[in-house]
């Protein structure tokens, strides 16, 4: 009994440690003070001024860019990754091993190496950096995760159903749409959500590929802001919103995955 209380206590202590910084940001998002740590009474002013635009126009812009980039990158990598997964799954074992190995490189590589390597790619070919290069870079590091989340669905699928559909007169396209797609859809959705969160979260790859024409994502905005010393107070409510969103998204993914496993 004593052991159990100690064990649980340890877990809670560790969780408290892990969450205390984020909690402090959350608590101080409900006060107006410019400096974090000063409590000047409860207020939701920071939340309203975050959305009212005006002087924080550049912050709103950065949020918008982050969102558009993530949506584009996640959509394209889900399409590319799902098609690739079907292809890789049907490859002969040697070619499949090569593809799987290459697919794992961006996952294993530290972000900074991915960033530097893509930076060198773009400058070597004289491609000017901006929105397009960021989206391409994000697709490059997101797609491998989509492939990894679609692959197990393909492996679990009964290969005979596809053949059966063909035998029963379906065209290959119909068989794909009616048989394979429904089977891999859960993997595609998980892959999409994963790609979306990875893209939103990225800092290291973005900063190397964003160029210097004034384009900002949330990460680069925060970075520039923090380097100037003072942190825009509106980042507190923003972090809170992001944290809660990620929390909800993760619980959804996890519930889905648990359900899948039970099936």
């Amino acid at each position: 009994m004593m052991k159990k209380i100690l064990a649980k206590g340890y877990l809670w202590l560790l969780l408290a440690l892990l969450y205390s910084p984020i909690l402090i940001i959350m608590i101080f998002s409900f006060t107006e003070a410019k400096v974090l740590g000063n409590w000047t009474g409860f207020s939701t002013k920071l939340y309203s001024s975050l959305f009212s635009g005006g002087m924080h126009h550049s912050l709103m812009n950065a949020i918008w860019n982050t969102f558009v980039i993530a949506l584009l990158a996640a959509t394209i990598s889900t399409a590319l990754g799902s098609i690739a997964a079907i292809g890789i799954f049907n490859l002969r074992s040697k070619a499949r091993a090569v593809m799987n190995f290459t697919n794992n490189i961006p996952i294993m590589n530290p972000d900074i190496i991915t960033g530097v390597s893509l930076f060198l790619l773009f400058v070597s070919f004289g491609i000017s950096q901006g929105f397009t290069t960021v989206v391409l870079a994000h697709i490059a590091f997101c797609t491998p995760y989509v492939v990894l989340s679609v692959m197990p669905r393909l492996r679990k699928m009964n290969p005979n159903i596809y053949e059966a559909a063909l035998d029963l007169g379906a065209t290959p396209f119909q068989a794909l749409r009616k048989v394979i797609l429904p089977e891999i859809l859960p993997g595609m959705i998980s892959g999409f959500i994963l790609a979306f969160t990875l893209s939103i979260d990225d800092f290291a790859v973005t900063i190397f590929t964003i160029g210097n024409e004034g384009l900002e994502t949330l990460s680069t905005y925060i970075y520039a802001d923090a380097r100037k010393g003072g942190l825009t107070p509106e980042l507190r409510p923003l972090s809170t919103i992001i944290f809660v969103t990620v929390l909800v998204l993760l619980i959804v993914i996890n519930k889905r995955a648990e359900k899948q496993q039970k099936e």
Binding site: I83, R92, M99, I113, V116, S117, P152, F203, I207
Partner: protein, 257 residues
């Protein structure tokens, strides 16, 4: 069209956006600005005490962070994996969750905590911030292997008269070593390669190797920056040799966060 050909677009994509960029790092690292072969980038690194010191210091910080994460994370992973403590699945998610919050926000949150508690920002804050950022990467793989461990092996050891310490050192620890190894790699690699984080945590007083790489690339020293990246890549390559295929098997089961 045969379905295996569906991997072609992605194969092409990987070639352009993964393989060629990595080859470019090697190419830039071994050439000078005119494109002629040279070793001078590496010589410059070896002769430059500041870069060298930053490199060694970064490895040191990464080692300390990894050890602290292991000491804090192993017991947590163990408790989470034991059924008789009835920790819920949500508890596991709670430990993994901070991993999904923007690393800059997490870092600034750490700075905020230190400010709030009026603690000085410096080496202590740096290690705390790194541990805070990367602890989930240690807990998760260890939890995974411990959870799959056959409980009857522990019971057998107990029945055969092993004391708790013996059970741990002779049964549990060896069986969980794949998780420990991948946890070590997963903490060490991002710690040694971060940039910008250390500056924020120490008010620009401490610089890590990742920042040296970034600064050189930013200031147009592409060849030297590429050489530094290659050195980092080698360090990480050596580290990842220790991981075995068991982690890949774990990845492939996919799905659950």
């Amino acid at each position: 069209m045969r379905r295996r050909n569906w991997s072609l677009p992605y194969a092409l994509f990987l070639l352009v956006f993964v393989v060629i960029p990595l080859l470019l790092i090697v190419l830039y690292a071994f050439t000078d600005e005119e494109g002629a072969f040279t070793m001078s980038n590496f010589r410059k690194f070896l002769m430059h005490p500041e870069a060298m010191n930053t490199f060694i210091y970064s490895i040191g910080i990464a080692i300390i962070t990894t050890i602290v994460c292991l000491l804090l994370g192993y017991p947590a992973a163990y408790i989470l994996s034991q059924k008789h403590y009835n920790t819920s699945k949500t508890m596991v998610v709670l430990f993994i969750l901070p991993m999904w919050v923007n690393i800059l926000i997490r870092t600034l949150a750490t700075v905020a905590l230190f400010d709030f508690l009026q603690l000085p920002l410096g080496e202590g804050a740096l290690v705390f911030g790194m541990v805070y950022n990367f602890l989930p990467f240690m807990i998760y793989p260890i939890y995974n292997t411990l959870q799959k461990m056959d409980q009857s092996l522990i019971e057998a050891a107990q029945d055969l008269g092993a004391n708790p310490l013996k059970v741990f050192s002779k049964v549990i620890l060896p069986l969980s070593s794949p998780g420990v190894i991948s946890g070590i790699v997963m903490v060490f690699m991002p710690t040694v390669s971060t940039f910008a984080i250390a500056e924020l945590l120490t008010m620009n007083n401490i610089k890590l190797f990742g920042t040296t790489v970034q600064e050189n690339i930013y200031n147009g020293m592409w060849n030297y920056g590429a050489a530094l990246s290659l050195i980092m890549l080698l360090l990480i390559g050596i580290m990842s040799l220790f991981t075995n295929d068991e982690d890949n098997a774990q990845n492939e089961s996919g799905g659950v966060i």
